[in-house]
Symmetry: C2
Subunit: 333 residues, 2 copies
């Protein structure tokens, strides 16, 4: 290989900006700007759980991609089969967040030459089991070589939406904010043992009063910002935040309050959605209970006009919630 | 991070099988077996240039993915903009190989935190220019973190086929074998300056006598095997192999015959296709010349019944062609 440092990587003593110095959100925003006219505006372009493709036949297709990288999403503590299953489920969760149904998929593998065949077989068995469960066909893919000690797998998943897909950016002032399940501490196990909320997402997409939806991957504190309209805040009823037992266990370990874990930890893979103020909440909640008696549903707050003190406000004290918000990739931790 | 060696990577002194000890083709074959019922048989599954998706509306969609990885496909000698452009063109070439038209795409980036923003901007400008040229929309994507010093970008490209897509596995005994352009020595420049044969592929897909098609990525010597029927050989008229000027330059540098470079080097991104013996060759070739006066077309041989001495036979001497065949990823070189 020619010269190693050819401008692609910056030395630590360089003043060049790097992916780390900007952080993930800013890098994504710049890429969107650089792409300019070749990337369409939301909802057809970058920025929702899935891209929506209008086909000539008038059908709506969903398209999403998500990856599993050694050192970032998985490590030696996760079994190979669980890792393969997680790759499928992460993508199914994106389809669920639009109310869609998963379809065919492509599998991209990037691997060092030292990846063990035994491990890879177990990884693929996880891919297979989860694919069968969600009726996904693996129709193709690609394989690339990385240096020894590296592994990354990306899945691209197509889906279809029977009804209008639920988007992120369509909530309004006064809408109620809901989450499914319980939140926080997923690192203790749920981050690979989760169940994507596929049938729940499809059911929610059929309810006309549901105004927006997304899945929780980076933590409620970060993801909630994506569904807030411009010039709006969220009033959170902190006592209604559904705290998982893992968040409580985590509190014992690191001393950070369980409710803060529920608000800030990533990889919950629950649904975050908003309900129009025109809806009959009691009826909606009782319909939910009939459909999904075993999955908790929590009304955690409401969208309000922009509050002078911040985007997230404690509904009781009207003071800003001063928890660190979510997970920013690439930044030094 | 917990224990580094958790079974995903094998030590060099281990007797475990690894991706390197099996090589790319065998790993792909095993993955196909492991996936079993969740991967459909060709042409709907793994093994052609694109997957073909039958939509409910009866339209045929194409789906392909290909990546650019630092250290494998690009290095410090390739400009960032050329690398971005190459990522798009590699995928367009796969759509071309089915006779399709490119559509929306997803961009996955895997990057070390030290990737320079200046370099990334130039890379994306290459993605943008090439996307605009082939009327591709970047509708979404994903970003993951790798260790410092690493960069990989994968594109997943959707396409549509107006007519029946041309497959790889549909050639018959006695069909003529053709290639477009000139072959060999692409490492001297063409491997990123190439032009995907999109309009040529679409034209070929409309000609009823064309029986199979693929694009040349791993080298004619390896790729030709993919279109040979079982129990068949290819008789190659070595004097008709279209040798590029780069292959001749390369011969001066490494002493390997230019014709061997043409047969064995990778990344030509030309089309390899077969023509039925029922076709009027003279008419076909003159039609080609009218449509594409500037792109060479070479009839390089013919498919025959299995020859006892090998799959590739010199048409003149009837002896096996004893050139090393193509590029096998992961194997030590």
């Amino acid at each position: 290989m020619p010269l190693l440092n050819s401008g692609i990587f910056s030395n630590t003593d360089s003043t060049d900006k790097t992916v780390r110095s900007l952080g993930e959100s800013e890098v994504i925003e710049r890429i969107r700007q650089w792409l300019g006219s070749v990337t369409p505006a939301t909802p057809l372009g970058i920025g929702d759980d899935c891209a929506i493709i209008e086909t000539p036949a008038g059908m709506k297709q969903l398209l999403t991609t998500d990856s599993i990288t050694y050192g970032q999403h998985i490590d030696g503590s996760v079994g190979a089969k669980d890792a393969g299953s997680k790759l499928i489920k992460r993508n199914v969760s994106d389809i669920a967040a639009m109310g869609g149904e998963p379809g065919p998929a492509l599998l991209n593998l990037l691997m060092g030459p030292d990846v063990s065949i035994k491990w890879l077989e177990a990884f693929i068995s996880g891919v297979k089991e989860a694919s069968a469960r969600y009726r996904i066909s693996i129709v193709g893919g690609d394989m690339s070589e990385l240096e020894a000690g590296h592994f990354s797998a990306a899945l691209t998943l197509l889906g279809t939406a029977k009804q209008k897909p639920l988007l992120r950016h369509t909530a309004a002032i006064s809408d109620w904010i809901f989450v499914t399940g319980t939140l926080g501490g997923s690192i203790l196990g749920k981050h690979y043992a989760f169940e994507p909320r596929l049938i729940e997402g499809q059911w929610l997409a059929k309810q006309e009063e549901v105004t927006s939806m997304m899945d929780l991957t980076d933590g409620l504190g970060k993801d909630l910002a994506a569904i807030l309209p411009d010039h709006a805040s969220a009033e959170i009823e902190t006592k209604r935040l559904p705290i998982s037992s893992d968040a409580r266990t985590f509190e014992q370990q690191d001393g950070k309050a369980a409710v803060e874990h529920a608000f800030c930890d990533g990889e919950d893979y629950e649904l975050l959605f908003t309900l129009s103020t025109a809806a009959d909440i009691d009826l909606f909640e009782s319909d939910w209970k009939k459909e999904f008696p075993e999955l908790e549903l929590s009304r955690i707050g409401r969208i309000t006009k922009a509050h002078p003190e911040g985007r997230y406000i404690d509904a009781t004290t009207k003071k800003p919630l001063n928890w660190a918000t979510g997970f920013e990739h690439f930044k030094k931790r």
